[in-house]
């Protein structure tokens, strides 16, 4: 699958209605986004995971 095909597939699945000009602009953004995503390392699980903690409503965070 080409990058353009991947882009079109995701856009359609997300329900984005793009005219031709928007499609061109957003494809440019999509290409730039791939470079940002490539900078995020594939990190091994660490003992102090998870990075995302669910905090119950009414929890009072104190320091």
């Amino acid at each position: 699958m080409t990058d353009q095909e991947k882009f079109d597939t995701i856009a359609e699945a997300a329900g984005l209605a793009l005219d031709d000009a928007e499609r061109v602009r957003l494809m440019e953004g999509y290409n730039g986004l791939q470079k940002l995503l490539a900078q995020i390392p594939d990190m091994a699980l660490a003992p102090d995971e998870p990075a995302i903690a669910y905090v119950m409503p009414t929890t009072r965070v104190q320091r």
């Binding site: 900078q39 905090v55 929890t59 320091r63």
Partner: protein, 466 residues
């Protein structure tokens, strides 16, 4: 205008109590300046004339009868138009909310009101605190008072312009990747992104739940401390709010700075001419002044700024798309083109990529705090931007964040407090800010260092010619 027409909050508070001015006079002057500069600067979305004058008269009566609410009593303040204000239009500069009148104040607005502040304007913003400057929105973009051909930065564009131009004495901005510190630097004022959790975001339209910070923009660090005193405190209705004692920020300014250790982060702006020579020189000049004030300055290496930038941008795009998805799918034409394009990019980030960015964020934060501990530094010093404010027309690519990494993003990820103070001016007459950052919840120490820098720097000696 002369410098004497730009009084600080601190000086004005003294004048009010000495009886040499009144809240009515101050508010009237603010309203007149906002109105007089609107065609040039476009800094306001709503000028709150009637409400402000009623509040001013009440403030004068209260002060005369001994009800003194503190240094913000009777002071004209502006609010970025993403802050909810009960009974007053709050638009986020978007057709999506152009008729929106909230029922309640944002927590920070309520705190400022309780401290006696008087709101004279809801100020210009990039649409939903992102995606500008744009010319296809309900209100035109604000302009830089030092030269209206140039941008004032964003997204707290009106707040930066209005404070610099003396239209209000202080303003509220919001900062998700640098939206307080950017305009503060480009307009020659002070801007603080406090520690994450220090100021409630309840009632402020979100851009990114995990990176949004609310904070003050003022003309001096002392004024910033005055606003922080009113704004800080636990809010059980903001899940990110942290219950921790509120320091005496004004008292902290007078603390000792001799012996404090400053880490200068040159890697972020100096290699390969990233920053222009004048911006680099301002950071070096700031380092010299901090040393003269008795602090030690040493180099420190932090994680690569490009990593912070990529991580932060992925988180913002993901969360912003989640916030705006429904509107973008149902009525995309009601958004401006820039915001529509930028936020729709979030649709192309998968769940695992977003979560990987959140995990990387924790790694970057820990690495930053570890580096500060290893280098034994109290605060960080680095550039605020790569250069002075761009001209309109040169500064609006659809996706500006694919260029150089923002110098401000790192501290939105780490949650550390970060303060921008004007270092001086470039040859083109535009201001250049420098950026200081502290350890989490050491906002008071950071303000002390900023105040020491400002004192050592001396008065700027010029004001915008508007």
């Amino acid at each position: 205008m002369t410098a004497s027409e730009y009084p600080t909050i601190a000086a004005t508070a003294r004048a009010l109590r000495a009886g040499t001015t009144t809240a009515r006079e101050l508010v009237t002057a603010s309203l007149e300046r906002l109105q007089a500069t609107q065609d040039t600067l476009h800094s306001a979305i709503t000028i709150m004339t009637d409400e402000a004058l009623v509040a001013a008269d009440k403030a004068d009566v209260d002060l005369k009868t001994g009800k003194d609410l503190g240094p913000l009593h009777g002071i004209p303040i502006g609010l970025k138009d993403i802050y909810d204000t009960a009974g007053t239009l709050t638009t986020c500069n978007s057709r999506m909310l152009e008729d929106n009148v909230p029922d309640a104040d944002a927590d920070s607005v309520a705190r400022l009101r309780a401290a006696g502040a008087i709101f004279t304007a809801k100020l210009a913003t990039h649409e939903f605190a992102n995606g500008g400057p744009s010319f296809d929105l309900p209100w035109p973009p604000a302009r830089n008072p030092w030269n209206p051909d140039h941008v004032p930065g964003g997204s707290s564009s009106g707040s930066g312009a209005a404070v610099a131009a003396g239209l209000v004495m202080g303003a509220m901005g919001s900062d998700t990747g640098g939206s307080i510190r950017g305009p503060a630097g480009l307009n020659g004022i002070v801007g603080l992104k406090p520690s994450y959790g220090r100021i409630s975001r309840r009632g402020i339209f979100p851009l990114s739940w995990t990176q949004d910070h609310a904070g003050p923009m003022t003309r001096t660090v002392e004024d910033c401390a005055i606003m922080m005193q009113a704004l800080s405190g636990y809010d059980p209705h903001d899940p990110a709010s942290v219950d921790t004692p509120v320091p005496d920020y004004l008292a902290a300014l007078e603390g000792q700075v001799e012996g404090l250790k400053v880490g200068i982060v040159r890697d972020w702006y100096r290699p390969e001419g990233l920053a222009d020579p004048e911006s680099t020189a301002q950071v070096e000049g700031a380092a010299a002044l901090l040393q003269e004030a008795g602090m030690t300055v040493r180099d420190i290496t932090l994680p690569d700024n490009a990593d912070f930038h990529a991580c932060g941008r992925i988180i913002i795009l993901s969360e912003a798309f989640a916030i705006h998805r429904k509107g973008l799918l149902a009525t995309p034409e009601r958004y401006g083109e820039f915001l529509r394009d930028r936020i729709r990019l979030g649709a192309f980030i998968s769940a695992h990529e977003y979560i990987s960015a959140l995990r990387f964020r924790r790694h970057l934060t820990q690495a930053t705090l570890d580096a500060m501990a290893a280098a034994d530094v109290d605060v960080l010093l680095t550039a605020n931007q790569y250069g002075t404010a761009e001209k309109f027309g040169n500064s609006s690519p659809t996706f500006p964040f694919f260029g150089k990494p923002y110098l401000t993003m790192a501290f939105n990820l780490t949650g550390q407090p970060a303060l921008t103070v004007c270092g001086g001016f470039a040859a083109n007459g535009l201001p250049i800010g420098v950026q200081l950052a502290g350890k989490p919840y050491e906002d008071d120490l950071l303000l002390r260092v900023g105040h020491a820098f400002e004192t050592a720097r001396g008065a700027l000696g010029r004001t915008p010619k508007i």
